[in-house]
Symmetry: C2
Subunit: 434 residues, 2 copies
Amino acid sequence: MSIPNHSDLQATLDPARKSWIDSANDAACDFPIQNLPFGVFSTAQQAQARVGVAIGDQVADLAALHAAGLLRLPADTNVFARSALNDFIALGRDTWRSVRVQLSSLLAKETATLRDDAALRSRVFTKLADAKLHLPVDIPGYTDFYSSKEHATNVGAMFRDPKNALLPNWSEMPICYNGRASSVVVSGTPVRRPNGQLKLPDQERPVFGACRKLDIELETGFIIGRGNALGEPIACKDAEAHIFGIVLLNDWSARDIQQWEYVPLGPFNSKSFATTISPWIVTLDALEPFRVAQPVQEPQPLEYLRHSGEHAFDIALEVLLRPEGAAEATTIARTNFKHMYWTMAQQLAHHTVGGCNTRVGDLMGSGTISGPTDDSFGSLLELTWNAKNPLSLGSGGTRGFIEDGDELTLAGWCQGEGYRVGFGVCVGVVVPAI
Amino acid sequence: MSIPNHSDLQATLDPARKSWIDSANDAACDFPIQNLPFGVFSTAQQAQARVGVAIGDQVADLAALHAAGLLRLPADTNVFARSALNDFIALGRDTWRSVRVQLSSLLAKETATLRDDAALRSRVFTKLADAKLHLPVDIPGYTDFYSSKEHATNVGAMFRDPKNALLPNWSEMPICYNGRASSVVVSGTPVRRPNGQLKLPDQERPVFGACRKLDIELETGFIIGRGNALGEPIACKDAEAHIFGIVLLNDWSARDIQQWEYVPLGPFNSKSFATTISPWIVTLDALEPFRVAQPVQEPQPLEYLRHSGEHAFDIALEVLLRPEGAAEATTIARTNFKHMYWTMAQQLAHHTVGGCNTRVGDLMGSGTISGPTDDSFGSLLELTWNAKNPLSLGSGGTRGFIEDGDELTLAGWCQGEGYRVGFGVCVGVVVPAI
């Protein structure tokens, strides 16, 4: 395996590069040759999950490519023949990049190796529609940030004090909390409405019952590609080299359970029933052309949170809601990841500054991504202002919060010239409480 | 492997049972034949970590016992030849109990098998003093509760309002939050004083620096022995069958970092730099004789948190502090686990009631265990009332919070008739910030 240089990597990002897989060349396709996101899949024919890469409307089986001698790794072990990406990711950034360069070459229009070998192609490719997609990584730890200024301000205004909506610590650090890793599920997994304690305004004591204010949180999450040892912080300037890639993340939230339980130690049961992530991890390398400046930070952060250059990414995001049986989904929010106040690099620097160790596969949620306008908020709580202003759905009906049978979809993509680097979707249908 | 019945288990708890390992028969020994706690160890001669049981001043190597055909399991795989207990624990409660019964018999005074076979004994036993003890389980998830009424009241009085020290939700549910599993370390691991943001009273903005209010929290933690699937809560009456055993836990806390960061999502960097647990897991079976009634709960908890019978355990606990170079440690707190308001069963029922899944090896901290008297508080924050009343140490000097070089030790035991079931110790020495 040769270590790719800068121009090898740049070539994988060339907007003019096309694939011999026609569907990948469609301008509206999430998975063009410039993307090459990693995931884990299985098929009816081969139930053993293995690593794949999405290209057009196909999944390329990397375990099969490696077995065929077409994908070189630094060691002989076929780390693609695993049910999670962790062992591959642990091989390090040079390897991620080498595999990206090799795949981009194999899939390029002018490369005959796979293109002209029907037997090999049939072993390597599966239609995306026929693949069962699994959680792409084993997640040792899940942390959720709270890094959208608009979101924090909206929530503070609703639940605390509209005049002092943003708490004083918010502008000084990327506030975060530990989430529950065990209940992170892959897109498509049904989400059961949780039961819990609800404190109703007209009753002195809480009652037990099904959540009445079920909500989503539109987020992205980044996956740790290289951990750090206990006691050895990651500097802000080095942090992006520790990130493997990004997924969409829906931090399902039971607002009524949350409001009663969260003081003083933060949300717990209101979040731990499910967190959905999209199955394809879009690498930071694929996102490089979409790097933009982060918002101006005022006051200037403390030294350990400073970095030069651009560390935000221009990722268009939307949320769709489709009631059970409805033919069409309604887009209920449109926003962009670039609005986030704190960058991923700052989040990781803050996470580790006290010495906390991270591990390959750790998931770091961005926090709800709300934009500056009323239709760019990343939760129903904000979009409907706690159900005071219900949303009208295109298929009829209104929503304050989520109803049973509703299908919630997050989508995201970076718009290039004539192509887009997409995240696919992050979907969940809500099923009734037990 | 035969499944032990009630009388087999009772026999392992017989106070009159003695071991042919003399040190185990000492009334002050933590590890008599009635205890048989599980851990993971390695030795200078054999660096590969494996499962052991503490008995007197010795460790019995269960991998070696199994290899010698003296310890039967339901399948042939030697799950003791692993660097964590998870695979053994996953075999289920019948197996834990069978192994306990088999070990109790092998180690009993009247059993000749090991007692009279010097060659075998030399393969199986290591002096505790010569064993390197490892983290006993891989911990997929770590949750920390807040279940001592005295602790919650003390903290509320100090930081919020002495007149309304206990928040209204506290009496209705075992409040908890997700901790950071990656930084749970085994007793003996040095603890580095964390850096972080400190908000000093005389400055408008926070400064970055080493924690000035480093503290301990005296806790126990229980280890999940049988998990539950997502969406399938564990009923309160069934919860104890899901618990493998208990360790001592020191939830190191940076009070100044905590006070600035914890609103509104709870503590994060103030806790994630280290959590120390004791290396020996004392099984719930060994604790059975020390079961006592929990405190009366008023108001009566909601239905899902109710159980009949006794679900507290009489575990004496103490905290010792030894400054660097001092010959003697000072006992700075004495309390008892039986004071805890919420039981472990209630904690686990609440943890899963919304559908959250748990996994074998999950660690659930009790929360700081403070008793009703001023010398029974489980943190320096409470013992010194935020450094207002410094403690005098026997070796000279005083402490408001922890200083570099201080060695903090938690100890715990259940007092039987002529023996005690001990937890060993949970120790950490604080080293200076980087």
